[in-house]
């Protein structure tokens, strides 16, 4: 089961994001297309950094704690999921706080 450790961390972050979305009715689901474009930008920038850092051995992963699927340049698939799940939860938090505080209500 240890190969699911990194995936477990991602699941935790993802559950937080989905929970915030449902709990606060952020409307993110209706704007999924905007999120996809946003995330594409993040994926390009941060996977480039990640690929380079892994290549240069700035950081590395315990092979026993990842599922072992790599996409390119030795990037574990968990890293790609990380750059989807974290921005998703970030936007969800932002939208929930916007709704909760009523700040910037005049702003689109």
């Amino acid at each position: 089961m240890s190969h699911l450790h990194y995936l477990g961390v991602l699941l935790f972050i993802g559950v937080c994001g989905v929970g915030v979305n449902i709990g606060f009715k952020t409307g993110l689901k209706k704007r999924l297309r905007i999120f996809l474009v946003t995330d594409l930008g993040i994926l390009i920038v941060y996977l480039a950094w990640d690929a380079w850092a892994i290549h240069k051995h700035n950081w590395f992963f315990d092979a026993k704690q990842i599922i072992g699927v790599h996409l390119f340049n030795g990037i574990p698939i968990e890293e790609i999921l990380f750059f989807i799940v974290v921005p998703f939860t970030t936007v969800a938090t932002f939208l929930a706080l916007k709704k909760l505080t009523g700040w910037e209500a005049d702003r689109k």
Binding site: H57, N58, P87, T90, W103
Partner: protein, 102 residues
């Protein structure tokens, strides 16, 4: 200390993108800082989770060596740049798409 250098560059790029390229002005908005303040403890929690179990490890030469919640201090810069860029992109594309639709 290459991670340190790139993390600093990432912060500057994210701030320049936010203020001058995307013009989303996130760093001047209270809502951004409130969001960051709420996300930060969760970043520290997951950093601790990933590093205390050695799921991810760092080459000592790549970092200055100071750690917070198990992870290199550089991770704070990495996280800040990513949260800022995510929300700047979100705001930028939100206004672009609504212009097109309305």
């Amino acid at each position: 200390m290459i991670y340190s250098d790139i993390a600093l560059d990432a912060i500057m790029i994210a701030i320049i993108a936010d203020l001058f390229i995307l013009r989303t002005q996130m760093v001047t908005r209270g809502l951004f800082w409130l969001s960051y303040g709420l996300i930060l403890p969760f970043q520290l929690l997951t950093n601790w989770w990933l590093t205390s179990k050695s799921i991810v490890m760092y080459t000592p030469d790549a970092i200055i060596g100071r750690r917070l919640a198990g992870a290199p201090i550089e991770d704070l810069l990495f996280g800040f740049s990513m949260i800022l860029l995510t929300l700047a992109f979100w705001e930028f594309f939100s206004s672009k798409f609504s212009e097109r639709n309305g």
